[in-house]
């Protein structure tokens, strides 16, 4: 009986994980005219869910270097030119401050729910 219960519990956990993965969304934030832009609007803040992925796409004719040194997530995507995109998946809830190292005016906060 105990075995069965554990097995059921295991299946339940797997189902939750699958469901989270299936619902994970992808968003694209472009770097345009030295600003973070989503759906043609400059943004400084956006909310996503844990597991979602953001694609940072450079649409300026010069390099950008997106990074975060937040407690939630630390990453440095390196410098990349026009047309290239790099992505980050946010696994845990919290807030991440996102900047361009080269152009620190470019700043936004991603709230992960």
């Amino acid at each position: 009986m105990i075995y069965v219960n554990l097995k059921r519990f295991g299946i339940a956990v797997a189902a939750i994980t699958l469901s989270a993965t299936a619902n994970a969304a992808d968003y694209t934030i472009t770097q345009s005219n030295k600003a973070f832009v989503k759906d043609s609007q400059q943004i400084e803040q956006m909310s996503i869910k844990a597991g979602d992925t953001i694609h940072f796409k450079n649409e300026d004719p010069f390099f950008h270097n997106i990074f975060s040194l937040s407690d939630l997530k630390t990453f440095d995507l390196g410098s990349y030119p026009a047309g290239e995109s790099k992505s980050v998946t946010f696994d845990s809830p919290g807030e991440a401050e996102i900047e361009c190292a080269i152009h620190p005016e470019m700043y936004m906060v991603i709230e992960v729910q």
């Binding site: 390099f63 410098s79 030119p81 190292a101 152009h103």
Partner: protein
Amino acid sequence: MTMSSLVAASQTSSFMTRKLLKTLGYMAIGMSVVLGAGSAVAKSGMQATSEDMDKYLRPAEIPQPRSNMMTPERVELGKLLFFDPRLSGSNFISCATCHNPAMGWSDAQPTAIGHGMGVLHRATPTILNTAYQRFQLWDGRERTLEKQALGPIQAGGEMAQPLDSLLPELQDIPDYVKLFEAAYPGEGITEDTLAKALASFERSIVSTDSAFDRWLKGVDGVMSDSAIRGFGVFKGKANCTACHDGFNFTDNGFHNIGLSDNKDMGRYTIKPIKVLKGAFKTPTLRDVATTPPYMHNGQYHTLEEVIEHYDRGGDKNMGNLDPNMKKLNLSKKEKADLLAFLKALTGDTMDITIPLLPIK
């Protein structure tokens, strides 16, 4: 209070004179446009495009924080403080010692000289157009002029004056008490009002119109053909606009441009991201011909040397060259044109007077 009148408060030309000059300037532009309309001699590609005008024309207002809007009283007080050597521990160094208006608001030294004639390791940047900068200091560690202003006063190697001894010194000078009261009623002589007054004066030091600005506005014959071609090289083959763009010719960004003499980690000490190792703030190019030597370490003495540096795509330093840096393979003529363009960014001479300082 209009921008021109505030600038007049710091630069001594009277408001009326400036207004008259401005009116005459508009008339000249108007005449030029009328003449231009009927002229068939305009060479294609030799006139500013609407995109150029959108990008490079002077913004309508000087950027300023709501908490410290510019007034003539604040700008004038800031000017006195800026030129007052009593702001230093030795009572011998003022802000203007290094940011000297006679030398493009800089000091013509490779790197600055501070307290006790000590040589510092970074060049004195001009204060021209700092109002338009989003980050202050070579490594951008301060965002506002108010925060920046108190740094050099207190820095041991620069002016070496602790604020807890400076403030009583200023409070002891009756005219300063009156001037602070006029500028910041009821606030007294404090760290905050000292910083605000200095920042107000610095914001008033804006570039004057250059040949390039007049050309942008459609005035014929003010910019040589070589300089106009140089603008094309600047935006095109040389790709200077990857960093030096907009009215103030800066991206407000930070780059390692491959200076062989650079051992300074620069912006990396503020933000430890690899690309920032040896990276420094992109300076304005307004009046650039008046502020040699060049680069954050004063490594180059002439603009010709600077152009050669970029033409070879920079030199090796800490293996962290900005990816925008590439060999340019400019011809001799293109280099000469680029130089002519940079010189066309020099504005009209500012009429600056050294103020009489309040005495105790």
